[in-house]
Each structure stands twice: as C-alpha cells, then as structure tokens.
Symmetry: C2
Subunit: 202 residues, 2 copies
C-alpha cells in the first residue's frame, strides 16, 4: 500500500470518477486508472463497482476512505511539523496520555510550562493501550506520560500521582453486566465495538 495510491484513491472518491480525479491531481486518466487497479490487485479487493460508465464505492472501498484520509492528514501534519521546526523554537515538550486522561491536572502542568517558556511548543498525543511507557520515554517519544495506576516504575523513571479521576461505564439500558463489573470494567467500551482513537475500530 503506497502513499500515492491512497491519494489517488481519495481523489477518485471525492471527484466521483477517474476523469475528475485525474484533472484534480494534474495527471492523465490512465495514470489514475492504473494506480487504482494496482491498489485493488495488491489488496485483492475490489474498491469500486464499475457500473456502466461510473464508479461507485464498494463495501471494502468504503471502509478504506476514513483511514486513508487519516493517513493523508497525518502526513500533512508531519510536513507542517517539519517546516515549523525551522522557526525560533526555544523549547519543546511532548506529553502522551491515554485519551480518557486528557483532561485534569495535566492541563495545569502544561499551563505552568507555557508560563515559564512562552516560546516553547507543546505537543500532546494519545497513548495506545499496548504502548510501553518506559520505552516510550527512554526512546524520546515524549518527556511525560500520563497513565493509570498501577504501573511499575522502571529504572530511572519518576512517577508522581497527579490525582484521582472518576470513571463511568456507559452501556445500553437492559444490558446485563458480567460478574465483577463493578470493580474491574476493563475494556468494556471495547467489548461494545467502540474505541475513541482515530481510525481504529472494534
């Protein structure tokens, strides 16, 4: 799956056809057609139904639109990030946190940091459940991480308790809760097929 392929794919979706997509991209029609068929061949899935002289998204194609948009947006963000880094940046702070913890004491920390270093850039990104906190910080992915207790303190890591946070389990009325749900609701949201992180699914 190549970068350009997603770009062309989205162009076809947005312009409702290869012709328009090619015009929008500034390339010839066969180029888009080839790229699209190459992508379909590579994935082994038909992304569009060829109906008459038109193209309409298939189920698989539909499921690829969102993630592809995500990719292109993040690529743009990466490029922007880079041009921005040319400016006069005096400091830099990267913080990672589980989505549920993005509101709370952490904002006070950021505010304090901004007060002390007005020129600095602060970047805030989401933790995934499988991320390893110790390696994240060690490898320089971020300076701080916000996570739930308990977590084992790796060597050379400082852990400070920021506070408590109330949790609420949301579930459809009439749903029977599994045993022990009151104390350990684990990934209840996940079991409903819901996740809040971008582009993922359950």
């Amino acid at each position: 799956m190549e970068f350009r392929q997603m770009e062309y794919f989205l162009a076809v979706v947005e312009n409702k056809g290869i012709n328009g997509a090619a015009a929008a991209l500034g390339v010839a029609q066969p180029t888009v057609s080839q790229a699209l068929r190459g992508l379909e061949r590579e994935l082994g899935v038909r992304l569009f139904h060829r109906i008459g002289r038109g193209m309409v998204l298939s189920a698989a194609g539909r499921s690829l639109v969102g993630p592809s948009r995500q990719v292109l947006r993040d690529v743009a963000a990466a490029a922007e990030q880079l041009t921005a880094s040319d400016g006069a940046i005096v400091g830099r702070l990267d913080i990672m946190a589980f989505p549920a913890l993005t509101s709370g004491t952490i904002v006070d920390l950021i505010a304090e940091f901004c007060r002390r270093y007005p020129q600095a850039r602060v970047r805030f990104s989401e933790l995934e459940r499988e991320d390893n906190l110790e390696s994240l910080i060690r490898d320089g992915h971020c300076e701080f991480a916000v996570a739930h207790l308990p977590l084992e303190a790796g060597e050379g890591l400082e852990i400070v308790e920021l506070g408590e946070q109330e949790y609420r389990l949301v579930y459809p009325a009439g749903t029977e809760l599994p045993e022990g749900a009151g104390t350990s609701f684990g990934n209840a949201g996940h079991s409903h097929g819901i996740r809040s992180s971008r582009g993922s699914d359950g």
Copy 2:
C-alpha cells in the same frame, strides 16, 4: 515525502543506526542510507547529526518522529480495516466530533446503536476546526457529526441539540485575560501553544 522513507527513518531511529535499521528491515545498508539522505534532501533539513560513527536525531528529525509514527499506525489501521471488511459486518457507523465533545450524550447514542446492531462497527474520529460539516456528511465521511452551536443547517441536514456542556479556560496563574474573555474565549488554548489533536502543534 514517501511512505517507505518514513518507515526507514523510524527504523533508523529505533535501531539507533543505519546498520541495525537495515538488518531490521531486511535490506542492505546503502539502501537505508540512500533513502534517508533522499528524505533529507527532499525536505531540505538534516534529520540526524552524524557524530563519529553514530547517528543522533537533530531537532528537525525529532519533530518528525511522532508524526511519522502516527502515519505508519494509521496505514496499519487502514490495512486492518480492509481485511476486517471481508468479515461479516452487518452495519457501519462513522461519527465525527470536536475533541472537546467526545464525552457526553454521544456515548449514549453509540450505546444505543450497539444495542440495536451488535454486529456493527462503530468508528469515531475527530473533527478539525476547519472541517465543513455539510460536505463531511454529504461526501460520506461520516453519518453523524457532533459540533458546537451555532451552525447553519445545510439543505437536507437534520440538527438535534444533544445538550449543554460546561467549559473551563485553563491558564497560568497571574495571566491577564484579554478584554471580553469571560464571554468569548475563542481559541485561548491555541494562543498558549496547546492543542489536543494528535501530532499538531501551536
């Protein structure tokens, strides 16, 4: 900026060197070296400082690590999405919302949807400030969008008020608020260089 370049770049970062990266990627060292230099040339920025026989991330390179990881993760999510779409999916729901609105009545909506269609997949993604709600829904980016009032109702769009939400402005102690801050705090967070969306900066 190509896809493979990011992959190689991250491999170099994670393996602390071109040699290890090449081994991890299963390619020859010159391949990685070329790809990396090509990326640097294309971006016009030096991503690594060559110190002795080692490579250490430059400031620009550092700023590219997070976004690149984001891209690769999203690509993986896209691929996964596609293989998953082969399965027996009975329904699909895409919802978009501003990050600040991701908790609230919306979860009840999702819960209700999941109760009715247990087989369905729900995807939840973030709105950007510049997104146009009407075109988002019209172009099939999502089925629902959650946004602040006021918003103009496009033709063929239904708008339902979900509820109210309390806002809090967080700022460093001692900061003088600009005039009218009590009623229109606009993008105050932004003015502090803080944004919560992944990979962006202020």
